[in-house]
Symmetry: D3
Subunit: 150 residues, 6 copies
């Protein structure tokens, strides 16, 4: 779905909640195969059982990629993602956990150089089935100003 | 391979360069299927041809996941990744581009609370075949101090 | 996204158009691997070049699955898909073709037995980048009546 | 394997039974990734547990694609699949169910326009491990007549 | 398909030829992800272009696995594969090559210990589209004797 | 990682042990899809339960490919793999087993024709979590002699 939103249209504090998705053993195997990271923390159930972590844990990039992917439902042709700040792995994600992503418009500010665009910061809060945050970050968008587009 | 390295062992300015990996159309399709992000920017060659971008561009999370995956060759049991700062998408990655990741120990500092560990910051510079940076970020590690382990 | 719609809410003739998606060689290989159908019509470029078809053609089930998948953007908790009628493969789909799905509410009728639900027929028209229909079918839904839900 | 069969060779009532195949969680994840349909009915075990369905159910297109794929063992160069009729989802398929496909030549008739070919209808009955039908449909083939090929 | 064949039924010199299958870039990426072997010989097109090999070459295990997979069309419940001898990589396989597998019953001999079974050796000759052998090996089967089964 | 080793550098009896990797149901499904071998021994849990094998067993080519893949951590630009001898499937691998590969330099000999290279034989011993060998083979390398490179 396409919903055009200018910088002026973003409402501080507005939230969206994604569908949930159960992280499966398949996702672990696919992510290892996609990235080439086969570290035993993610792939060797027997070794993990002997460690403090107890069981396989999801790659950080897996939780990030799927968590962000859950929010990819609406295209705003006026916004461009240009990066992330303060990405933190808060809790491990295990096989069978179900994650959901809550995004919230947290900040709007002028761009230091570009007058036709503003910067919107969206906080990303990826939670498990117990509503515990597993990964948090800030998503940065460059968004056209309606005033400039006129 | 396992190489144990304490906080004291990290040398500021030391660099590692990964193997290269060509980003294929397959990686685009796998990443869309893995994350659920099928936005036309990544998946619709015809539509892209009518846009300023001209051709399909890789998902930001794809470049990040594969770029970080390229560095997953040595396990340091004394270090734990806990997040990333200042992740920026600098240039688009297209089908057929070859990326390589250069990491560099950029900072070592005390942890505000934990005395048994220090914080190591590694800059991550993902480059294409023209040695242009396509994605940059800072990788944060919590690393055991040898002094504390003694 | 969840949008609740009762039988009474469906408007005859209303249409939706999906995003486009380029069908890649990867999709051919994934579909063969998913279904176990490795017939040379889909998998052997050399043999196809000697045949009337000239090049590899997509599995019918591939075009159907991806074409229907393109429409999976909005959940209506009041509707349940129960089947398809008159599914026809109209034109071949080749590697590199871009498909888009147009759905249209074509019919609403009483269910022969259930008074609390009605039957909605949606025509599905999967087109290539030349706006030619490659696959057509009718999708059948059982939809709750608002009157019965009251 | 290639077995040439003309329209005249099809025997009404003849049946074939495929091998069985266990539908795994992997197949669910692969199908979601292949089609882009990540609806929680297929992907969110926690949410399903709160619903009447109780657990994740296979996509209709998954059961259809794999069920038809199970029959792809013999190529008849004289027959061309051109569509399906009366495709119905009879029972849900869950992770761990094993499906098998039984096909049966149900009808042979003249083509309304083409004299060199006839229409063969094969009923497709996809069953689970309890021999319950989970999906039924009619597969339509256009088959060369031997008389015309002479 | 199931075809029961006893040791006595194998005919020296009898041959089978598989369908062909075009080896795609997707197969390279899937195989790397399946096995964890991301060596630049298979994955870095730019580096390969600077080497004597000139372009990416298929993993040996890819050619072997797919070449053997092409022969998996008939199950003989009386035979059990127990190994391979003299597996040799004769020529490189590149993206776009089409491989076909020719198997030939080359030897039948007594098992040194088991009187109820014999050993059948099948030569496996995997060829590209120019009918050049790319991989050769001998496949060893343990096969029930009809005399013993009586 | 790249470590240059000439024929003279290989030390008879030296061993390497890979990380472990748990073989998952996903790996079974991916391997079937990659190779086209959907035999019920690997894919039909219900049928296997009625057989002597009791449960699904991994494809021989799966164990071989992943077992060899586990060793792909160091590139020696002076060595070229040219084949395998005496590949034997010793024990079945089931879903949930964890495999590890131990390689050992077992033999060094002159090449019958090439004086600039020698032949190194590395035994490959793929073990499960009980340290039982599941697959054994000999890996053959052609390795440059330092004397010839001088």
């Amino acid at each position: 779905m396409i919903i055009e939103q200018f910088f002026e249209d973003y409402v501080l504090g507005s939230e969206r909640r994604s569908f949930g998705r159960t992280i499966t053993e398949t996702d672990f195997v696919v992510h290892a195969g996609h990235t080439g990271d086969f570290f035993p923390h993610h792939m060797d159930a027997d070794w993990c059982a002997t460690q403090e972590i107890g069981q396989r844990i999801a790659h950080g990039t897996l939780v990030f990629s799927i968590g962000i992917g859950l929010t990819a439902t609406v295209i705003n042709p006026r916004a461009m993602s240009y990066g992330y700040d303060r990405l933190r792995f808060i809790r491990p994600v295990h096989i069978g956990d179900t994650i959901t992503t809550i995004t919230r418009i947290a900040d709007k500010r002028d761009h230091p150089k570009r007058t036709a665009q503003g910067v919107v910061t969206e906080t990303v809060d990826i939670r498990n089935q117990r509503e515990e945050t597993v990964l948090a970050c800030e998503h940065l968008y460059l968004v056209d100003r309606r005033s400039a587009a006129a």
